[in-house]
């Protein structure tokens, strides 16, 4: 982390200026190297120092360039925006610069090679050697003379003793014209020396070769370069002949000076020769050196070119990289980015356009979001509506999977799981076998191509649920899409069980009315005929026959009477309501009815709350209701016999306020055996009776009359609900917690309901007043016993298209 910060803060900032300085330094170094190659009088250490510095500089540049290349490769692999373009630009730049540089390099190198080769010429070389030989020959005569002079001097000095030799040596030297003359004794010790140069203390010594030559009796002569430019002729001769090898022999060395002019000329010749020879010797190295210097220059140029290419590419591509980053940000949904426009060229315009585009996209995005919110709200609203529909709604995708459902569906179909989304209809049918009829009706239609877009198919489906049989009116419709293909399905279920029930009730009424009408007519003649038979024949017959006649006619008459009663009840049940409503007090009416039951076996008790219970009703019908219910209760208690020691029927009237609605509550209760559980549900249906002799129409009539008055009748057993009020007022009820209980709720003011149930006579003729069912069933529906609208899944399609 620290290194990263350091790198970004210092290294990346400092490298470019340092590189610039290095390049400049290298240029200077190159110049100096080329200068030092040209000039001879440069400081000794300069050349190698310059080379070392150049190597370090080029190494630095190489590292910088390598760093750039590595970073580029990394970016290239990662797919960083601009990396490919950078690579291409760098390659182009490098190509553009390196090709001419390489061409120049090639020609320079070959030019140098040939140029240096052209310096040398065989003839010149030969001439140089000849000149040197000529110079050497020029000294030959002088050397011969010197040799002879020296030999003569040796002759003169031969035989003289040590001291005398020293004295004579100088005079001999002068005679011979030698510059210096020295006698070496045994072990090369100087015996005597004489010199022109009075300041020279130590005489010049011959080398070992010359001395050994002289000691072996041979003469030695040679040129001695001496120090500086003064060449001399050196002659070494033995002084004592024949005494070699014993160490006691002496050697004479004489040095002769050469004339300054000859010295000068010979030096000049030698200098030129040396120069030429050294050039010949060095020409290969020289070529290498020049090539090396050129290679350094080439490396410098190439590295600088690559480095500058990277810098240029970076500068050039900086806005493109920013644009790429901006585009990526936009792609990721960040529209708030604004790129800085700090240049006025084409790229600047591009950045400006990008900013404009981003701003527009941002605005469009905002609008889209707002629209989305509106759509969401509408969808939520629709969802809420669908959830609160009384019909069950299922939407299915094209592949038959449920995408949406409202809660009513699960209630209607008795599906325990709340999560059926994502299942297909078949899967649900497999889990809930009672739904098989639905799959049978619609399963095939969900296959592709079976149902064209916008088409609707309707079917009535009966399913068995845990609450009993249920009849569902089901509709399936294929949802249209833009391109006229089905985009899914919607299935709507409507519970028409109650409607069917109402239809059935109405049908029963019609049957009862007709039966009553048809049966009632012949009954009176039968009865009259039986009575006449009895009256006329009873007296004329024998006792036995009379007894038979009496019994038979009595049976006919009583059975006809019973049949009449039954037919009347039928007629009563099926009677068209011709109500004459008046406002009456229910309590008064109840008291009036109960008075009729005073003194009977089973007492009837009237319990009232005291408040006036005004009801707009037909007094006769309400009376009939009371009679029916009280009689039923008494009958039940009578049938029960001795099980109940205190049989009692209680009629309770009161006002009940529920949810701001005031209702009159009329309860008829007994303390008998109660209603069997199995009967409770269909107690008010016709022919539902527990008694063998009952017609089963009494409670059906009660229900009909109550519903005609806009009321509701319910039955329950007493242990289910005993009001506190009953318990406190009638302690005997506590001991008996069994018994039936019929509760009737009537509206307090029936006038308010009048508009919902019109009473005009014309309508009453055509339509029986059946407010209790809640359905207005057309009269003609009941003309035929069969219900015409039960569609089997016959594909009666109405191919209208919804927009």
């Amino acid at each position: 982390m620290k290194w990263g910060a350091f790198y970004h803060r210092w290294v990346r900032r400092l490298v470019p200026p340092i590189s610039v300085m290095v390049v400049i330094l290298l240029l200077v170094l190159m110049y100096l190297i080329s200068e030092s190659l040209r000039r001879a009088d440069q400081p000794e250490h300069l050349y190698l120092t310059l080379l070392g510095l150049s190597a370090v500089g080029i190494l630095f540049l190489a590292v910088v360039v390598l760093g750039h290349i590595l970073r580029l490769v990394t970016h290239y692999r990662r797919g960083t925006p601009g990396a490919r373009l950078t690579a291409r630009l760098v390659l182009t730049f490098v190509g553009l610069t390196s090709i001419p540089v390489l061409i120049v390099f090639y020609f320079s190198v070959s030019f140098i090679q040939r140029g240096i080769d052209s310096w040398f010429d065989v003839q010149v070389e030969q001439a140089m050697s000849d000149a040197l030989s000529l110079s050497q020959m020029a000294f030959d005569g002088q050397m011969r003379t010197a040799m002879e002079e020296t030999k003569r001097a040796a002759q003169q000095l031969k035989g003289e003793s040590g001291d005398l030799i020293a004295l004579d040596l100088n005079s001999v030297r002068r005679n011979t014209g030698a510059h210096e003359m020295t006698i070496f004794g045994s072990r090369n010790l100087i015996v005597a020396s004489a010199s022109d140069d009075l300041q020279a203390i130590v005489p010049s010594r011959p080398d070992e070769t010359a001395l050994s030559h002289a000691r072996s009796g041979k003469d030695f002569i040679g040129l001695d370069p001496g120090g500086g430019d003064s060449m001399r002729i050196r002659v070494v001769v033995p002084l004592t002949a024949g005494l070699t090898g014993d160490g006691s022999s002496q050697v004479l060395q004489a040095l002769y000076a050469i004339s300054p002019r000859a010295n000068q000329l010979s030096s000049s010749v030698q200098a030129a020769f040396n120069e030429y020879r050294s050039l010949i010797f060095l020409h290969k190295s020289l070529k290498k050196t020049f090539t090396f210097a050129l290679t350094l220059a080439l490396l410098l140029s190439l590295l600088t070119a690559v480095w500058l290419a990277f810098i240029a590419a970076r500068k050039l591509l900086a806005p493109i990289r920013e644009l790429a980053a901006g585009t990526r940000a936009v792609a990721e949904g960040d529209y708030s980015l604004r790129l800085p426009v700090d240049r006025r060229d084409d790229l600047g315009q591009l950045v400006q356009s990008f900013n404009t585009m981003t701003a527009r996209v941002r605005r469009a995005h905002q609008v889209m979001q707002q629209l989305q919110e509106v759509a969401d709200q509408e969808r939520d609203y629709l969802e809420t509506v669908i959830q609160h529909l009384s019909s069950g709604v299922l939407t299915l995708s094209l592949d038959g999977r449920i995408t949406r459902s409202n809660s009513i569906v699960t209630q209607l179909l008795s599906i325990t799981s709340q999560h059926i989304d994502g299942c297909t209809l078949r899967e649900i049918c497999q889990i809930y076998p009672h739904l098989e009829p639905i799959c049978g009706a619609f399963g095939d239609l969900l296959d592709p191509g079976q149902l064209s877009a916008g088409a609707t198919v309707e079917a009535q489906v009966r399913i068995m649920t845990d609450t009993g049989r249920r009849v569902l009116l089901s509709r399936i419709a294929a949802l249209p899409t833009d391109d006229d293909t089905a985009g899914g399905f919607v299935i709507v279920f409507e519970d028409i069980t109650a409607l069917i029930q109402a239809q059935r009730d109405a049908a029963w009424s019609e049957v009862a009315r007709r039966l009553a009408h048809e049966i009632k007519n012949p009954l009176t003649p039968i009865q009259l005929s039986a009575e006449r038979l009895r009256r006329r024949l009873l007296g004329t017959l024998t006792d036995e026959s009379a007894q038979i006649l009496d019994r038979s006619t009595q049976t006919i008459i009583s059975q006809v009477e019973a049949m009449k009663l039954m037919v009347n009840e039928f007629a009563e049940y099926a009677r068209s309501p011709q109500m004459t409503r008046t406002t009456l007090d229910l309590d008064e009416l109840v008291a009036e009815v109960i008075d009729l039951y005073k003194g009977g076996d089973i007492p009837v008790l009237h319990v009232t709350g005291g408040e006036p219970l005004l009801v707009r009703a037909d007094a006769g019908r309400i009376r009939q209701v009371l009679h029916n219910l009280i009689r039923n209760a008494q009958q039940a208690l009578t049938d029960w016999g001795d099980h109940q020691s205190n049989p009692l029927v209680t009629v309770t009237t009161g006002l009940r306020v529920e949810g701001g609605l005031a209702l009159i509550e009329l309860t008829i209760a007994d303390n008998g055996p109660g209603i069997p559980e199995a009967m409770l549900d269909r107690l008010f249906e016709p022919y539902a009776t527990t008694r063998p002799k009952g017609s089963g129409l009494g409670l059906a009539i009660v229900k009909k009359i109550v519903e005609e008055h806009g009321g509701v009748v319910t039955a329950s057993n007493r242990q289910d609900a005993i009001t506190e009020w009953e318990r406190s007022g009638h302690p005997e009820g506590e001991s008996n917690d069994t018994g039936a209980r019929i509760v009737i709720h009537l509206p307090l003011n029936v006038d308010e309901l009048a508009p919902a149930f019109p009473e005009d006579n014309a309508a009453q003729e055509a339509t029986p007043d059946q407010p209790g069912t809640g359905h207005n069933v057309p009269q003609d529906l009941f003309r035929t016993p069969q219900l015409p609208t039960t569609h089997t899944p016959r594909t009666q399609q109405s191919s209208h298209k919804t927009p």
Partner: protein, 212 residues
């Protein structure tokens, strides 16, 4: 960043096994390379007779209050070098003698030092070999290279320092060596001479005991 994690994992898993193998391979290659270099070097040494300088012996003694040094060298000149001298390129040799007081954690403290500089060249006109003592401006000519070299290899009675100076300096060590002054070579030869064994005429330091 990118959804290449499974691939990356696999790569890592593979890399665990591969890297040691690569290293082993790499070291094997390095070994081969090293061997080849050795063979190559041996071949070069066999072909090219490299120059060398070596201090055979150095002996110091104090006479009349002055420390004199006698040094014997062994010089072997490559043919290339002799060729160069015969083509008028002089060799500049420096003999350095140092007396120093060694220190444990640092370079020794120099008590006295002296240089002798010789220039060995071929004189074409006289066909002699010339040794010039650059500092003393003395030149001696030799009719053969062998004679010149014999002279060069033998330095006698070289006064290094006054004995007085050394007396209180504690433990002292003397060092002597010979070097070829590359910077005095002609320019084209300088760079190659840095790395060319034929021009390697630098001896190692030779340690000698300093008498007091």
């Amino acid at each position: 960043m990118v959804s290449t994690t499974p691939c990356w994992k696999r790569y890592e898993a593979r890399a665990d096994g591969v890297i040691p193998a690569t290293r082993a391979q790499g070291s094997r290659w390095a070994g081969w390379l090293f061997l080849w270099l050795l063979v190559l070097q041996g071949g070069l040494v066999g072909q090219v007779f490299a120059s060398s300088a070596q201090v055979k012996d150095a002996h110091a003694e104090v006479r009349e209050g002055v420390l004199y040094l006698d040094v014997d060298f062994k010089l072997v000149l490559d043919k290339e070098m002799i060729d160069a001298m015969q083509n008028a390129i002089p060799l500049n040799l420096t003999v350095q003698a140092v007396i120093e007081h060694p220190r444990d954690w640092w370079v020794g403290k120099t008590i006295a030092e002296d240089d002798r500089r010789y220039q060995l060249e071929y004189h074409a006109l006289s066909k002699t070999w010339l040794i010039t003592d650059v500092l003393e401006h003395e030149a001696r000519s030799f009719s053969s290279l062998r004679g010149a070299l014999r002279s060069l290899q033998r330095i006698r009675a070289w006064p290094i320092a006054a004995a007085q100076k050394l007396r209180h300096a504690g433990h002292l060590v003397g060092r002597v060596r010979m070097t070829l002054d590359i910077n005095k070579l002609p320019l084209p030869l300088r760079f190659p001479a840095l790395f060319d064994s034929r021009w390697a005429l630098n001896s190692d330091w030779f340690l000698w005991s300093v008498p007091k």
